[in-house]
């Protein structure tokens, strides 16, 4: 079964993982810029990271027939220092011209601070100014509910934003309704210990329907599973979802959202 992995941090994964994804039917994957598991010491560190995302990873993926796209930003964990964050943001525009960069992401909040919120809003303005899609990270665990509400309130202040071009990721049962009611897309992240289990994600599909929803593995340097999306497809089949319903959520929906960038061509 073909599918799109719309959120994976492949810089942290092995080449063997690309092979597994290809065997499972992955046609394309998207890599948002995020935390590397440690704080980078200079904007130069981000310059090299953006080169890795826009030059090296597309070539590594192509060896397995997978198209690789990216999103750029300074992530919320490292955005709590506004001076540093703005230095990094100043180098983003030159990379936006790269042929595989789709938009701004994953921006958002981590510990729901004033500094994070300010840099989040500056990223949103950058996306609006360049008419780019936005991929938003919501905070972890106990911080998710408050952060999701802050993000939604903040986005409401941007009158020019097209909500159909914004996806708010890592929703769970207590935040999905807030996101869907406001007209944004929502992402469900399938993680072994935090975020959504396979069955909880399927529960949300059954309760809320599959419009404006996608699933991702968000596999990175931590405990995560790059095969989570195809595994969830198998579990959907076990729960008697039709092939058409499975295809909609793992292929058609991400393709619909991502195709809002003219660079997303399969």
């Amino acid at each position: 079964m073909r599918y799109i992995e719309p959120h994976a941090h492949m810089v942290s994964r092995t080449t063997d993982d690309y092979e597994k994804l290809a065997i499972a039917g992955c046609e394309a994957l998207c890599e948002p810029a995020f935390w590397a598991g440690f704080d980078r010491s200079s904007p130069d560190g981000f310059y090299d990271y953006f080169r890795q995302l826009t030059d090296y990873e597309p070539k590594r993926a192509a060896k397995f027939g997978i198209k690789h796209f990216s999103w750029l930003c300074i992530n919320p964990k490292e955005a709590d220092d506004p001076v540093f964050a703005r230095e990094v943001m100043s180098i983003i525009p030159q990379f936006l011209l790269k042929p595989t960069v789709l938009g701004i992401g994953e921006i958002g909040l981590n510990k729901n601070t004033q500094n994070e919120l300010k840099i989040f809003e500056e990223h949103v303005q950058l996306a609006v100014d360049h008419d780019l899609p936005i991929l938003i990270h919501t905070p972890h665990l106990e911080d998710k509910l408050k952060g999701t509400r802050l993000i939604i309130d903040s986005l409401a202040n941007f009158s020019k934003i097209d909500r159909s071009k914004v996806i708010i990721d890592h929703v769970e049962e207590h935040t999905i309704q807030h996101v869907m009611d406001e007209g944004y897309w929502a992402g469900m992240t399938l993680y072994p210990h935090s975020k959504c289990s396979l069955d909880r994600a399927i529960d949300m599909l059954e309760i809320y329907g599959s419009d404006r929803l996608w699933m991702n593995s968000a596999c990175d340097w931590g405990i995560s599973d790059p095969m989570a999306v195809p595994k969830c497809a198998v579990q959907m089949k076990a729960r008697q979802h039709t092939v058409e319903a499975i295809t909609k959520v793992i292929y058609d929906n991400p393709r619909e959202f991502l195709s809002q960038s003219p660079k997303f061509v399969l």
Binding site: K77, D80, D81, N110, K111, N112, T113, Q114, N115, E116, L117, P139, H140, L141, E142, D143, K144, L145, K146, L150, E172, E173, H174, S194, D199, R200, D203, E206, S210, A238, R239, Q240, H241, T242, E244, A245, K248
Partner: protein
């Protein structure tokens, strides 16, 4: 076109009961383990015990209720973060 034939309760029980039973016993064993070990417990155990109560309620949103119970409901925004991580339960 119908996109799903929802499993019956019986089918769902046949498919998942043993897995869920395993998770429930693991939860009990974890609390036993905490009690048995030396040292001080902290807010996470009481948050867990508070959240567990929703399991016994007849309501359609137990998972959301548990997530809400474990969430930070404060309204103030600190200027910057004192640490980057998350503990899984709000400390009141």
């Amino acid at each position: 076109m119908k996109s799903i034939n929802m499993l019956t309760k019986q089918e769902l029980l046949d498919l998942q009961f043993i897995e869920i039973r395993h998770k429930l016993i693991d939860l009990g064993a974890f609390l036993d383990r905490i009690d048995r070990h030396e040292g001080e417990s902290d807010f996470r155990v009481s948050a867990l015990k508070d959240a567990i109560q929703f399991l016994g309620e007849d309501r359609p949103d137990r998972s959301a209720a548990i997530l809400n119970a474990l969430s930070d409901h404060s309204t103030e925004l600190p200027q910057s973060a004192t640490f980057q991580g998350a503990t899984g339960a709000a400390q009141s």
